[in-house]
Symmetry: C3
Subunit: 153 residues, 3 copies
Amino acid sequence: MNIDAKLTQLGLTLPQAPRPVGAYLPCVQSGNLLFLSGVLPFRNGKLLRTGRVGAEVSLEDAAQDAAQTALNALAIVEAQLGGFERLVRCVKLTGFVACAPDFYDQPKVLNGASELLFKLMGEAGRHARAAVGVSALPLNSPVEADFIFEVRR
Amino acid sequence: MNIDAKLTQLGLTLPQAPRPVGAYLPCVQSGNLLFLSGVLPFRNGKLLRTGRVGAEVSLEDAAQDAAQTALNALAIVEAQLGGFERLVRCVKLTGFVACAPDFYDQPKVLNGASELLFKLMGEAGRHARAAVGVSALPLNSPVEADFIFEVRR
Amino acid sequence: MNIDAKLTQLGLTLPQAPRPVGAYLPCVQSGNLLFLSGVLPFRNGKLLRTGRVGAEVSLEDAAQDAAQTALNALAIVEAQLGGFERLVRCVKLTGFVACAPDFYDQPKVLNGASELLFKLMGEAGRHARAAVGVSALPLNSPVEADFIFEVRR
């Protein structure tokens, strides 16, 4: 997989990876697994939008938010590994969707992230996934994504 | 452990494992860990029921839902490994329970899954577990279960 | 790191680790990863308090709850490993905060846990983290924390 070429092809650029803030880290590697901190859909230092899916936020916009979390996750991976050469695959995505209590399409929201990972990484981007609807996320973000990647040591 | 024999003894049969749909997979193995996608209580292609525990769904029914997720998880494991010979143990179950805001018995719901795994796998079925109540799950399912198994390579 | 000395220095004592109850375990080790069951802020056998953050429970009190879950997690680790010699680091904390639907400061709640782990373990206590707001947790606890530690075999 050539993620950098695919990014260019899709007209996408990786954001600056977030710096460590406070007593936790953007990611921690243990063995061949890279556990990321929960990723919010920041772009240029701001959330793309706030609110709950199925209330203030549409499914389409939330799927864009999910795609942004995938981009941001790759930025964290690249910063940690110093490039993508040692990235093996995406293992797991647990996606939390802040939503109205009668919104049941969390998987369609997360498709925004899953499909972008597949476009950028091919088969290595296909992952196990769980989609969960919750009442509130940090900073009133509509989406938070929790990634595990496999890396070479 | 002889899961097939135990299934017969309990009058249970494993469902057909779900096929890969879209950009994610039913499970991904990394090292000796098998990460499953979130499992819903489907039986014969349909959710056993919909709604929130403590509202439209009783604790007893939700515990049945949880048990069904354990069966469905084992079906995924069997399909992935081509049988249970390489299955070592269940490591972790994170169970999400869609519930009324004043329902606090998420652990009792998940006992349906934990106890079935113990019946089928013995000590190897005992796992670490987290129980969480949420406002909404995919397809209005009352339960979603997130499993990690250990396998031999 | 010398966790025991740090505990004394901070005037803290580890609680008794919980015993296995029912069909699940306080923690399961697989390879070098130790997966804990969801930890509630029990002290002396009772939750420090009940209720939702941003409603009945203040941010400050919830941060104390989070700190208690970190202590309780270390008690589980110590009981499992027979001391802290084989503990390498904290890898991941997923913190679930039961909260009002308009509460968005889940990260500040979890800082209670993250900062205590850093005080007790130094750099080895810094972890990846996800903060999620939910509608209800077991026993009406304001906080539940899900830890992964790395250990030496």
